[in-house]
Amino acid sequence: MPGSPELSLKGVTLQRGSFLLRADGVFMPGVHLLTGRIGSGKTTCGKVLAGITRPDRGEISWSGTERVMLLQNAGYHVTRATVRDEAASWNTDPDTVIRLAGLSGKEELDILFLSRGELKRLELASLLSRGSDLVVLDEPFNALDDDARRWVTRLIAEAQNRIVIIISHDITSLPPVHELWETEEGVLKKIGRIPGDMRRWDKSPLLIRYLWQKGENPAGLSRSDLEEAVCRIHGSG
């Protein structure tokens, strides 16, 4: 497939104090979920994947256009004083992005007057509108309410032929996920494809353990796949 982006890491290491990140793997277009305990290196790994942090050793080869990352705290993205200027700073059409973020009418507002959820929507809409070939989203759902979670899930699912890496411990708002990755004590591991390799997920979250215990295998990790699996146990809500 010509023009298809691909990121590969070989023998990548990064030392930060007593923490050592080790990463190998190949990321192809699709949605990747990166999970792991707090402090296991998810964010550090995400920064290496996005090209923000250079590793100490190893090879990273990237074929594609730009790589971008949404930081956990959307406040760290702010570089301009108003909503319109902030949207424009991403080199996208500010009116389209502001409408997409549901912030029409707030164009001239001081950026610091937005609620955390509104700011997160603005930065997400800006970032996802750039058409970058690789997007790392660090905890994209936190600070978002139910409606906004559905909105961002739809936005992510709509993007074709790009590599989307979602870092999250909350699996209840995901779009369809193609591959599952985990960091454990600094080591990046690929668990496998979803749904085929889901059973290899040793440290699966609460909800997955519950479903397995009840004899249910979800068809995937999207919100609707999980809700359907729950409905098979408890009936439709």
Binding site: R37, G117, N142, A143, L144, D145, L206, L207, Q213, H234
Partner: protein, 239 residues
């Protein structure tokens, strides 16, 4: 009881509300006033009108602990010991008592080994624990958590819940969008556009369209996975 009457503050408009001791979660869409509500309860922001009485006292006369969504943004001091000691030092406590309480609090949170570390060298999880120690050291009547758990994993949340139980905080109020976290509360307050649209016990929530949005469903999940009922029996209490 926390009693709120004729409260107006920014978007908030709460004619009357009573909150029982225990764990209470504040939920609602973005911009519905959750953070404003917590800052008013903390006494950080005085309301334009109305009154809040916490067991008959004004918030300003109560001991209040606060942990935000990104605790590292509130850390003031270079060394962990000084950070945890800061609420006592700000209120003029003597050095011996301060040292004893810092050591006792750190031991209770199992972070004694961090006391001489620089705060900026801590991992994200360690910073959260230091922020909880700082919020708990004065044995608050009321502990307020503003989406503190939004990026913490299940096991870590469980550890934090255990810590709050051991400190016997009379009122814990936290804001959250996650039904699994709401399932750990006794009461759920739902805000919309600054108004309380509902306050209900965890087992009395109206049904939701989806199981995954229903705190009652998540309580079943938590119980089935061996999560203890959060109220410890008297003899199980530590410290």
């Amino acid at each position: 009881m926390i009693r709120i009457t004729s409260l107006e503050a920014g978007i908030l408009d709460i004619p009357s509300l009573a909150i029982s001791p225990g764990r209470c979660v504040i939920t609602g869409p973005n911009g519905s006033g959750k953070t404003t509500f917590l800052t008013v309860l903390a006494g950080i922001r005085p309301p334009e009108t109305g009154a809040i009485l916490i067991d008959g006292k004004n918030p300003a006369d109560c001991t209040i602990g606060w942990v935000g969504e990104y605790p590292e943004r509130n850390i003031l001091f270079t060394r962990v010991f000084d950070e945890i000691a800061s609420p006592l030092r700000f209120s003029g406590e003597n050095t011996d008592t301060t040292r004893d309480l810092v050591e006792e609090t750190a031991a209770s949170l199992k972070i004694s080994s961090l006391l001489l570390r620089e705060t900026r060298s801590l991992s994200g999880g360690e910073k959260v624990l230091v922020s909880f120690a700082t919020a708990l050291i004065k044995k608050p009547d009321l502990l307020l958590l503003d989406e503190t758990d939004s990026h913490l994993d299940e096991e870590f949340c469980r550890r934090i819940d255990g810590i709050m139980q051991r400190f016997h905080v009379r009122y814990v109020l936290f804001s959250s969008h996650q039904p699994v976290r709401m399932a750990t509360a006794d009461e759920i307050i739902s805000l919309e556009k600054g108004e309380v649209v509902r306050i209900c016990g965890i087992n009395a929530c109206p049904p939701r369209k989806e199981h995954l949005s229903d705190p009652g469903f998540w309580r079943k999940v938590l119980q089935s996975q061996g999560y203890p009922d959060r109220r410890p029996s008297e003899d199980a209490r530590i410290t």
